[in-house]
Amino acid sequence: MRARVFVTLKPSVFDPQGKTIADALHSLGYGGVEDVRQGKYFELDLATKEAAQAKKLAAEVADKLLANPVIESYRIEVE
């Protein structure tokens, strides 16, 4: 199965890169883009064929390595 892990900064954490991207978009005339938050996206190819197991494994590696719980949270999709 494939798991997709989306890691993003927690809402309370300032994102200097997101802010810079938003500023760049504004200077390009995209005033309709109110804010940008930058994150990370991982695709994990997993040996298991069971969704529950895939989700559990993806969460485990996200907790252990992919995300830093001090500043980040994550969301997982499996298929």
Partner: protein, 237 residues
């Protein structure tokens, strides 16, 4: 005494730290490869600056799982003095030896400059020879030194006097203009609760000889020499 300098793939201040320890301070020093599980009898450890594992994923995120880190954790748990400089500090944060995390500098730029930092605490093995309030001029070189901790964690760090260094003006005043990276509360360096593990973003090992523009970093390394030689670890004081 003997310094152990931990070398990760991508460390690039390991030789600077070795030079300061061995040639400037005249102490024993030995490199410890990150796959080693023997600390070679070191009395104090330095996790040097650099770009371990190319800063992939997050700064220090992969290095913290290097085999040597188990030994570093055990050494720290026994009260052994550990200094993390720049990337070494980031590794200590990822390893949970010091609370909090680093964000990209608020300017989103890599900042290479001499900055002023004020010694906030002198009851750590790395600041015992300094004066409280002493301002040190030491270089920084980092893109991710914007320290962050959640409000409850930050309150605890301040209450426990774990903020060891703060970015200030040359006169020692905390000011936003003197903050090179956006660190919360102008934090430049911290210690753990037991006070034997210290991390800072500035590079004291690059400021140990006046020929390099400043010798203000020397007091940090001299402190640990004194601490080890006195045989009284501050953590047990």
């Amino acid at each position: 005494m003997k310094f152990g300098i931990v070398v990760f793939p991508g460390s690039n201040c390991d030789h600077d730290a070795y030079h300061a320890a061995k040639h400037v301070l005249g102490q024993d020093a030995e490199f410890i490869w990150h796959k080693d599980t023997d600390l070679k009898g070191a009395d104090a450890l330095i996790l040097p600056g650099g770009f371990s594992y190319g800063d992939y994923l997050r700064t220090g995120a992969i290095a913290r799982f290097s085999p040597v880190m188990k030994e570093v954790q055990a050494f720290a748990a026994k009260g052994g003095p550990v200094l993390g400089v720049c990337n070494g500090f980031q590794i200590l944060l990822e390893a949970g030896l010091i609370p909090g995390a680093m964000l990209r500098n608020r300017s989103v730029k890599f900042v290479c400059a001499h900055v002023d930092i004020r010694v906030e605490q002198t009851d750590t093995p790395f600041t015992g020879a300094a004066r409280k309030g002493q301002v040190l001029r030491i270089p920084i070189a980092h893109g991710e030194g914007n320290y962050f901790a959640a409000p409850d964690v930050l309150a605890k760090l301040e209450a426990n006097r774990q903020v060891v260094f703060r970015y200030t003006t040359p006169q020692g005043e905390v000011a936003d203009d003197a903050n090179p990276n956006g660190s919360i509360n102008n934090i430049a360096g911290l210690c753990n609760e037991k006070r034997n593990v210290v991390g800072l973003m500035p590079h004291p090992e690059r400021a140990c000889e006046s020929a390099l523009g400043s010798a203000d970093g020397l007091v940090i390394l001299e402190s640990v020499v004194q601490s080890v030689k006195s045989g009284v670890l501050v953590a047990n004081a």
